[in-house]
């Protein structure tokens, strides 16, 4: 195993790991050398004993930033772990290199064993007979029942869509939210939750701006294409069939993804994350870029309000890992199957030299999977511009794209009118800037405010 540089996180990155502000503040208070004993570090780990209301033993596995503390808190990372990381970042001199005490090496040993077991299982499943190329219709009654329900639901949906257009979209302006909500509920009953989500998203479009009729027609048009594709699903290529099923609402378990999806090993650079709220469910979109393959990937995680995320992706760090993409005609969403060490990424980000290149990639992607909505990329040597109230980035050829509405002061402050390398997500209308590399340091950008 290659010896990797241990990850050096700075204070801002450490605080970004905190599950909430009270943990961050508590962590800062605990970053006082007086509260710590027996601090030490090695190539793999960081440890110390913290005097709080009791003496807590805190360990951090530096390869993937997992921490383990003997305190009873259910938050992860807990305030003691944050304190340990902060002290190491601020006063590295007081954390000497040493060989880990038993309570640390035991824990590391257990983790390595668990990891080895997982790899073993993965290897053994790899050696099984090649999985079937098409999903065989299951003999069980529930699967057949679902297919029937979905078919009926989609039939009803198509009639509803045609009605909309027959009566005119102008009539939709005055409809209450329940109009859309009821149709969405019918699709949920028909066991097509993916379509239900699309219908709910339509509710926000009427009156949202001067171009709303076109926007609404585009959205329901693409929905019609989806139902059209679903009715002829057997005529589609296998990968596209997977996409259609996923969009309608079938889900795959992790084992199924691993069995059928494309595995890609690389050092994956975390470009940034965006969090959306849907009721009491929070979804975290983390965008990754492969340092060697230049592939992009999306990690989606869900949590209920109050609980914490299970995986840690620190923007600006590169995690050695094998990702497996969901089977698709154009891989985007992926899960992490195996991971190795993480390190801070200081080099230039691999990326595209012109916006034209990016738009060509977008066209190519849509040709494979026409329902794609988000397109991540790294644009090199672009200048952020703020002109008469509008935001742009312009490449070296003079081509420019608009940025998401709102203020992007951090982007302007860090770029200073000079070309920078920008990681962003294009949605067909504007770019959401995720982060930029400046002077060898990566800065994640917050969502536009205002």
């Amino acid at each position: 195993m290659l010896f990797m540089e241990p990850m050096h996180l700075n204070v801002a990155q450490i605080l970004a790991l905190a599950p909430d502000t009270s943990s961050a503040n508590a962590g800062k208070k605990l970053a006082n050398p007086k509260t710590w004993k027996h601090l030490g570090r090695s190539a793999e780990a960081l440890w110390g004993e913290c005097q709080g209301s009791a003496l807590y033993q805190v360990r951090v596995d530096m390869r993937d930033m997992t921490s383990r503390c003997s305190c009873p808190s259910r938050k992860f990372p807990c305030k003691h772990s944050l304190g340990l990381l902060l002290i190491t970042a601020e006063s590295p001199g007081i954390v000497p290199t040493a060989s880990p005490p038993p309570w640390v090496s035991e824990w590391l040993g257990k983790r390595e064993n668990a990891q080895a077991k997982r790899e073993e299982q993965a290897n053994s499943s790899d050696n099984e007979a090649t999985p079937p190329k098409r999903r065989q219709p299951s003999a069980s009654k529930t699967a057949a029942k679902r297919t029937t329900l979905v078919g009926k639901g989609i039939g009803a949906l198509d009639l509803w869509l045609s009605d909309l257009v027959r009566n005119g979209l102008a009539g939709v302006e005055s409809k209450p939210d329940s109009f859309w909500e009821e149709q969405a509920a019918r699709m949920v009953d028909a066991q097509a939750p993916g379509i239900a989500a699309r219908i709910r998203a339509l509710a926000a479009i009427p009156n949202s701006g001067p171009e709303w009729p076109q926007e609404l027609l585009s959205a329901i048009g693409r929905l019609a294409l989806l139902t059209h594709a679903y009715r002829r699903i057997d005529e589609l290529d296998a990968p596209l069939q997977e996409d259609v099923r996923l969009m309608v609402g079938w889900t795959l378990k992790e084992e199924e993804v691993v069995a059928r999806g494309e595995a890609v090993n690389d050092h994956w650079i975390a470009l940034g994350e965006r969090i959306t709220e849907e009721g009491r469910l929070r979804a975290r979109h983390t965008w990754l870029l492969g340092a060697a393959t230049s592939r992009t990937a999306l990690i989606l995680q869900f949590s209920h309000h109050g609980s914490t995320w299970s995986e840690v992706w620190v923007p600006g760090t590169a995690q050695e890992a094998t990702l497996v993409y969901w089977p698709s005609a154009y891989g985007q969403r992926a899960l992490m199957h195996r991971c190795g060490h993480a390190r801070t990424f200081n080099e230039r980000l691999p990326g595209l030299e012109t916006i034209e290149e990016h738009l060509n990639i977008v066209a190519h992607a849509l040709a494979q999977q026409p329902w794609l909505e988000r397109f991540p990329c790294v644009l090199r040597n672009v200048v952020p511009i703020y002109e008469e109230g509008r935001w742009w980035v312009q490449d070296s050829t003079g081509a420019a794209l608009t940025l998401e509405p709102g203020m992007h002061w951090m982007l302007l402050a860090l770029s200073g009118g000079r070309p920078i390398d920008l990681a962003c997500v294009w949605n067909g209308q504007w770019l959401d800037p995720l982060g930029l590399m400046v002077d060898g340091a990566y800065h994640a950008l917050p969502e536009a405010d205002g």
């Binding site: 700075n10 204070v11 801002a12 601020e90 198509d158 869509l161 045609s162 009605d163 257009v165 027959r166 009566n167 005119g168 979209l169 102008a170 009539g171 171009e211 009729p213 076109q214 027609l217 585009s218 959205a219 329901i220 048009g221 693409r222 929905l223 019609a224 294409l225 059209h228 916006i355 034209e356 738009l359 977008v362 066209a363 849509l366 040709a367 026409p370 200048v383 511009i385 703020y386 002109e387 742009w392 312009q394 003079g398 081509a399 420019a400 794209l401 608009t402 002061w409 951090m410 302007l412 402050a413 860090l414 200073g416 009118g417 000079r418 067909g428 400046v438 800065h443």
Partner: protein
């Protein structure tokens, strides 16, 4: 809006025309024998996808002038982190101290901090921020009108933009621009204001006038004299205040003439019994007697010069007018006029049982108004030991103990404080006034004295007055005394009721860390 959308908006039921023919492969839906609505939907979907795939960029936009290379190097991330925490505390003195230190060490703030730091509203903090913004901060300020305060540019550049803002900006923007102009070209700023004076609202006139203390000179006199007749009382008052602060102004000349008429000094050869007694206290000789002729009535011209008519409770109007006039005459006038040393004149006033306190009050106000060190020091010595049952003068005594110290140069003030603190019987209110009034940072000599003398008051159940003193000391104590503070007071941090000490020591620790990090 394209054809398809128009059709869809109106509804296919209403529009009699069939769908327009498309011209791409994807528009060949007719062969599928679809009904119109379905055809429209599918074509719209395909159209949307194609538009997404065929997005055309905007053409060349004008590039902004990039920011200049930074001249100063950025402070460390640790310092930046600590400063960011203090940004949310209003008027944090620790923040101001740290920013000043950064400026001294020729450092700037990192770019990452700029958007947040530009949002600061407090003028004192803004003043401390300007020197450490670097080139990037100045460059960034051009993009947001709310950040104009951070603009750094040549006079010509700034003023070119400025007159536009003066014509058309909001009240806040215009005052901002006037303030900057006043700092760099006072005469031009005054001309701007004169041109619009008549049509502006009273609140604007007052706030604009408040900017005039910058660059105030006799050139402003004609304008300010006219303002003495303004419609608004607040404006009249402030104009008088400004004129009174110029020792050579006509207003002060008028006050001087009035004062000369009211008070005469006759040197005397024979010291009386009372004077002999007082000499022994003040250790300087009162050389004469004052004759005071209080005015019978309040002249209209005095009122115009803003002598207020109504006296506070406990003071007669005549004496009140007398004190106000005295307050507007620079004290050095009296030493020259009577060819006598200030200490001796002051001693004479101390000896005067009838008008003494009034004279001393007038002189004290004048010493504060005109920043006269010599008079301020001598008068301070009087007030510290004066015992009076009179509530009016008693209240002013405390204020003078504070404000007269403020007039002294820092070293002299610290020396005075050190000398006084060594007196065992120094009155507590004088002690606390000194602590309040000394400018930060204290000298190490005084810092050490403070720690010693505060000890008994602070470590037993802390008296209410000493809480404030401790809070002041937390900011004012210089780094050289911090080790002593931790040593002497550390043990009391965790005792019950010891949270004042804990706060005090915590603030010292934060400041010490900032010092160490910035100096690294």
């Amino acid at each position: 809006m394209n054809e398809l959308t128009r059709n869809a908006l109106a509804g296919t039921a209403k529009s009699s025309a069939t769908l327009p023919p498309g011209d791409t492969l994807l528009d060949d839906w007719n062969n599928l024998g679809l009904e119109t609505e379905r055809e429209l939907l599918l074509r719209a979907g395909a159209d949307a996808t194609m538009r997404l795939a065929g997005y055309a960029t905007s053409s060349s936009l004008p590039l902004p002038q990039p920011a200049d290379e930074e001249q100063l190097s950025a402070c460390s991330n640790t310092v930046a982190q600590m400063l960011t925490q203090h940004l949310t505390t209003p008027r944090s003195p620790i923040l101001i101290e740290a920013l000043t230190l950064l400026a001294e060490r020729r450092r700037r703030l990192p770019h990452v901090m700029l958007p947040k730091i530009m949002e600061v509203k407090d003028p004192l903090v803004r003043t401390a921020i300007r020197p450490v913004l670097g080139e990037r901060g100045g460059w960034l300020s051009q993009f947001n009108p709310a950040w104009r305060w951070a603009e750094q540019g040549s006079d010509a550049e700034l003023l070119a933009n400025a007159s536009e803002i003066w014509e058309q900006g909001t009240m806040e923007e215009r005052l901002g621009v006037l303030g900057r102009a006043r700092a760099e070209r006072p005469a031009e700023a005054r001309e701007w204001l004169e041109r619009v004076w008549r049509v502006e609202k009273a609140s604007f006139r007052l706030q604009a006038l408040e900017l005039f203390h910058k660059g105030l000179s006799l050139d402003d006199q004609p304008f300010l004299e006219r303002a003495l007749d303004d419609r608004s009382q607040n404006v009249r008052e402030y104009a008088a205040t400004l004129l009174a602060s110029l020792p050579d102004s006509a207003l002060v000349g008028r006050m001087r003439a009035c004062a000369d008429a009211m008070i005469q000094f006759a040197p005397s050869a024979e010291p009386g019994r009372l004077q002999k007694f007082l000499r022994s206290i003040t250790a300087s000789s009162a050389k004469g007697i004052f004759t005071v002729n209080l005015p019978e009535s309040l002249d209209k011209s005095w009122q115009r010069d803003h002598i207020s008519k109504d006296s506070p409770i406990g003071i007669g109007p005549l004496t009140w007018w007398f004190m106000q006039v005295m307050a507007n005459v620079p004290p050095s006038h009296w030493a020259t006029r009577w060819n006598t040393r200030p200490a001796e004149l002051i001693a004479t006033a101390v000896a005067d049982s009838e008008h003494g306190l009034a004279i001393l009050k007038g002189w004290s106000e004048a010493a504060i108004n005109y920043g006269d060190h010599e008079w301020a020091l001598e008068l301070w010595y009087v007030w510290v030991d004066v015992k009076t049952k009179d509530t009016f003068f008693g209240q002013h005594r405390i204020r003078f103990l504070d404000e007269l110290v403020g007039v002294l140069p820092p070293q002299q003030a610290n020396d005075l404080a050190s000398e006084q603190f060594r007196r065992p019987r120094l009155a507590e209110d004088a002690r606390l006034a000194l602590i309040r009034a000394l400018r930060t940072p204290w000298t190490p000599a005084f810092g050490a004295l403070f720690l010693e003398s505060a000890y008994p008051f602070v470590t037993n159940k802390i008296a209410y007055n000493w809480q404030d003193a401790l809070a002041t000391a937390a900011i004012a104590l210089p780094p050289q005394n911090m080790a002593l503070a931790f040593e002497r007071y550390g043990a009391f941090r965790d005792k019950p009721g010891g949270w004042h000490i804990a706060d005090f020591l915590d603030t010292l620790e934060t400041r010490q860390r900032l010092y160490e990090e910035i100096n690294r």
